[in-house]
Symmetry: C2
Subunit: 329 residues, 2 copies
Amino acid sequence: MKFNIKDVAKKAGVSISTVSRVVNESKVVKSETQQRVMDAIRELGYKPNAIARSLKIKNTKTIGIMIPDISNQFFPEVVRGVEDIANMYKYNIFLCNTDRDRDKELQYFDALEEKQVDGIVLMGNEVAEDLYTKIKLTNIPVVLIGADYIDVPSVSIDHVKAGKAMVKYLIKKGHKHIGLLTGKVTDPAYGVARLEGYKMALEEDGIEFKEELVIEGDLRYKSGYEGAKMLLDLKEPPTAIFAATDEMAIGVLRAAQEMGIKIPEELAIVGFDNLDISEKLFPSLTTVAQPMYELGAIGMRVLTKILNDDALESDKIILNYSIIERETS
Amino acid sequence: MKFNIKDVAKKAGVSISTVSRVVNESKVVKSETQQRVMDAIRELGYKPNAIARSLKIKNTKTIGIMIPDISNQFFPEVVRGVEDIANMYKYNIFLCNTDRDRDKELQYFDALEEKQVDGIVLMGNEVAEDLYTKIKLTNIPVVLIGADYIDVPSVSIDHVKAGKAMVKYLIKKGHKHIGLLTGKVTDPAYGVARLEGYKMALEEDGIEFKEELVIEGDLRYKSGYEGAKMLLDLKEPPTAIFAATDEMAIGVLRAAQEMGIKIPEELAIVGFDNLDISEKLFPSLTTVAQPMYELGAIGMRVLTKILNDDALESDKIILNYSIIERETS
DNA sequence: TTGTATGCGTTATCAC
DNA sequence: GTGATAACGCATACAA
């Protein structure tokens, strides 16, 4: 039922080397024998065994992608970017959901190494000590997406600048009392960067920073919803809320709408990421767009360059963000 | 920098068979030598080469999953289900986005075969002739998710019954003039099944079927939005719209809200799937829940059973749907 | 309990 | 142009 190169060789009356040559499109084979071999291949339904091939040639045309969770709306778009480019260069990709769990990360990393992937694209904002050690120890190229704080090729956006730009946009709109729903203060991109951008924008415009206007969440819907309720229950509630992710912003939107607050007249809401859904909501969400697909695609492109020993212009690629003004502001 | 079993053997002063035995946790090794070998492994940072192993033992602990598009909200949840179970059984998964493109499907299928995956999970409502031929020809087990119309193990829901149930729900709510936004009439699940269920429900309640109330779309947001506009522009617009997917329903919602139509007082909107976002909208969406995670998880579970030669109770597993009543109806 | 030797399906080097 | 043959890194039958 399943044939190998030997079977083909026998059937075509040639040696396995010749079969190998035609499979690998070597030019030296006489076109007549080539035809015979191709006939045999077709008749037997022969498929080369990529495992055997990989063992010999020491690459697998396979890469791994580690992300926190594919069911979080943010990541599918990135993965799609990776996959499209990977496919273009004939790579297959192993998908690994880590849930930001240290053990799972290490476990998957080991599995990817053992399966001899040619490269790994890594996503998730914090890279734990242990994982970083592994990255430095392995000879498998790793590229980081969405963050740039370790000594590894990466593609990301400038989160501080982006956050700051959004707050400045709000200020220009006349807001002086702006709530911030941020990520964990330990999360470099969605926690510290967002808060830093927020503070910088306020400071530049001489607006006082008020502790009670910033609430730490976990970037998900529920914490956006709950954070908004807290903010909106303040004696002096904000006139605008900046959520660290669109998902949180959707929670804010829902909370505000439940309370009968008019958007954007009584409350402006802005998010971060530009999820696919954000423009489909009513009212549609103002947000800072992260080029998610490009993050993935360019990340993978960088990886292919590394794998081809092509020169990289830079180890750290910074992509542009943009503020998308819609109906919630 | 990269060591193999031979290096470990030398370092530990044993043969490669012994190293192989401790790596594979064979019980026969004397605990003293086992310790020596483990020390050598640790010191060298040895990682077994899964490719070589696979070549020898003829399985790869790898499966492939083919879906139309990971960036369509429906699939990440399914993939997550697959991955969780796969991970539990120590499988890694190749992610393949086919875009419902025939060529891509064939291409990926070939690639998965060549890479010797142990099994394939297939999703997407139509299985093209060519692909089906390949499935029947290969000896790699394939399980189908979300559809059950070919001679392959599958897990899905009863789409006709589910569609019918939703329409009956609408009728019980007092609606007699119900619009249907369906998928392509060639799509077994989202096209024909939805229409069939709709017709059955109407018929049972003696409601006349009106051609102009059903519009064929492509299951995506835009076609929901546009379909809704057409329906709502009718001289006698429907009092309820049943969209074949939540994504379409979100388009309907947006269209209605733009037109200032009160939901659900003036128009009920119901969808299908129960996407994560659907309960977060305002108003939240009434829909029939497809157990997406379970579809994936159980599909993968079936695959592991096949791979272990465990008995399958049934080749065709039908999961339950449920109607989730929320604010749009 | 451990070691030797063979083969998994390829590619590539070297002859012819 | 083509064919033997030796790796690739491992698991395992068999011997010791």
